[in-house]
Structures are given as structure tokens and as C-alpha cells.
């Protein structure tokens, strides 16, 4: 009698332990999945975008720089950093971010547009012309198409 009761108790204990282990593993797996899907880079990116929408560009810039430092192969992240850096007149950072974005994604339209303007500002005529031509070939916006043609014409005249 006594041994039967003890064995039942043991079984119940082991069942509890098994349940606890299964639950712990499930929780760990769920957390791991969350971290992988929405990693720290993505979290900084989303926070940066939220700051950008609020007009808090310094905070947005810091968050987007952290995101970019953690994941340099994400073109949209690099583009967002470049745009915010332009708003803060940090042209060098903007140039690096846009150049990185086009090396990751050669079809990044906004990157070519901003790079063309940055190269023009730096008097890098050949690079500006190349960026304007690439932008023109990918762009869908009629207003910006006209602007690109005007810049190309001027830069070709300037030589």
C-alpha cells in the first residue's frame, strides 16, 4: 500500500516537472522567435521612425544610427538614416547611408535622388550625373523626372 502511494506521488512529481520543462521550453522558443523576427535593429528602426514622425529628428537620428550599425544590409534602414541625416545637414553620414543602401539594393530610387543632390553639393559632377541617370531610369514620378532632366542638362553644360 505504502509503496503504491509513494510511486503515485513520484509519478505526479515527475509529471509536474515534465509540464514545467515543456512550458519553460515553449516560453523560451516563443521569446527566441520574437527576438529573431523583431531584433534589436528592427526595434531601433521602428523607434527611429516613430521619432521622425514626431519631428524629433535628433532622437530619430540616434535610433536609426543604432539600427544601421546593427544591420547594415537593410536598404530601407539605410535610406531612413540618410533622409534623417539630410534633415540634420549631416551630409557625410547621409552619403554613407545612401551609398550603402544602393550597394545592398541597386534599385533604391530615393537613394539615387539624394546621392545626386549630395554629389552636386560636393561638386562631384561625374558622380552626380551618374546618380541622376540611374534615378531617371528607375523613377516613376513625372515632376521629379523633369527635375532630373534639368539637372542632367546643367551638369553636362558645366562639365
Amino acid at each position: 500500500m505504502l509503496t503504491a502511494a509513494k510511486s503515485e506521488e513520484r509519478e505526479a512529481k515527475s509529471e509536474k516537472i515534465t509540464r514545467f520543462l515543456v512550458l519553460s521550453f515553449s516560453l523560451f522558443a516563443f521569446s527566441f522567435r520574437l527576438v529573431c523576427a523583431d531584433g534589436p535593429a528592427s526595434q531601433h528602426f521602428q523607434t527611429g521612425l516613430a521619432y521622425e514622425r514626431l519631428g524629433r529628428y535628433e532622437e530619430a537620428y540616434t535610433e536609426l544610427q543604432l539600427a544601421f550599425a546593427l544591420d547594415q544590409d537593410d536598404a530601407p534602414m539605410a535610406v531612413a538614416l540618410g533622409v534623417v541625416a539630410c534633415r540634420l545637414s549631416r551630409w557625410d553620414v547621409a552619403q554613407r547611408a545612401f551609398e550603402r543602401s544602393v550597394s545592398v539594393d541597386s534599385g533604391s530610387v530615393a537613394s539615387y535622388y539624394h546621392l545626386a543632390l549630395i554629389y552636386e553639393k560636393n561638386n562631384q559632377t561625374d558622380r552626380a550625373l551618374d546618380a541622376w541617370h540611374r534615378f531617371s531610369s528607375l523613377n516613376q514620378d513625372d515632376v521629379l523626372k523633369g527635375i532630373a532632366q534639368k539637372h542632367i542638362q546643367y551638369l553636362e553644360t558645366r562639365g
Binding site: C86, S89, K121
Partner: protein
Amino acid sequence: MMTARQKSKLKSQRSNVYFYYLPYAFCLLTCGWIGCAAHRPVVKPPLDPSKIRRISVIPFEGPGGSAASDEFVRMLLGTGREVTDARHPGDAILKGTVTEYKSNNQLTVFLGNTPLMTPGNQAAVVDNPVVSRSGSQLTPEGPSQSVRHTEVVSLVASVGIRAHLIDSSTKIEVWTGDYSYEGLDLPTALHALADMMTRSMLK
């Protein structure tokens, strides 16, 4: 046969003709000559902008007018021309109006692959597209209305100038231009625009 008296009378009549009518004829001829001279068109060769050595720059009107005229002065000095103010007119006078001086033209940058609907209802997927807010009819299209596109706002400066170059002596307009240009900031846009217009003006 004419008598001596008749001859004398005839001579006297002739001298009267000369005396009375010749001054009239002279006056008529002189007036005619003066008249012709006065109505002859003055053909002055048009001023060749490339040969202008001295230009007086009048401060431009409109927002950013003084910055624009300063930029033109710098550009003209860079071409080797002499630049004066309005009180010391040169071969030509440059005056103008700044029609646009904006540092905050907004562009929307959609992040990631974005399906766009063109005005002709053609769908196109574009990587990180940039769309102008004024005038553009491009709209992002999602699989459902609930799709929220991630976007950031980019600012670009733009400057527009209408300028005239006038011959100081004849007051005839020898060049006119209405241009605009974009840049990351106002000084960059203005510098490029003044350069573009100076090249067009003096070529």
C-alpha cells in the same frame, strides 16, 4: 533782233529769278536734307552679351533678393567682368526677381518595395520610391486599405529667379531668363542657379 533795251530787261528778269527763287530752292533742299537725316533710322548694333565688360547689378526683388544679387556678383566677377552698382552704370544692367526661395519642399520616401499606382492606372513596384508632394499623382497601393506604408519625409530646397540684362545706352533687353533649381539647401540651389543663368546670359 533784240534791242539792247530788251536784252537788258531779259537779263534783269533772269537775275530776279535767281534772286527770288534760288534761296527758296536752297531752303527746300536744305530742309529736305535735314528731314531725311532726321528720319534716317539709327542702326546701332545690338549689344553682344559676350563682349560686355562692365555690368551693374541692381539688387533683386523678392525673398532672398539680396542673397541672389550677391551670388550673381560673385559669378560675374568669376568670369572676369567688372561689376558696379546702379549709380555707376556699366555696359549693361542686370536686374531680376526671386520668384521662389523655399527650403522645405517636401518629398515622401516610401521605405521598402512599394506598389505604386501611376496616373494611367498602371501598377509598378518600386524600391524605396521618392514621390513629390506637389503635383505628383503617384499613390501607393496596398493589397488592402489597411496596409500602412512606412515612409519618411525628405526636404529639398528650391530657388527660382527671373532676370533681365538691359543695354545701358539703348535700354533694350538683350537677354532674359526664368529658371529654377533644386538643392539640398538654399545656398547650394542658389549657387547652381546663378551659375546656370550667368552661363546662359554671357554665352
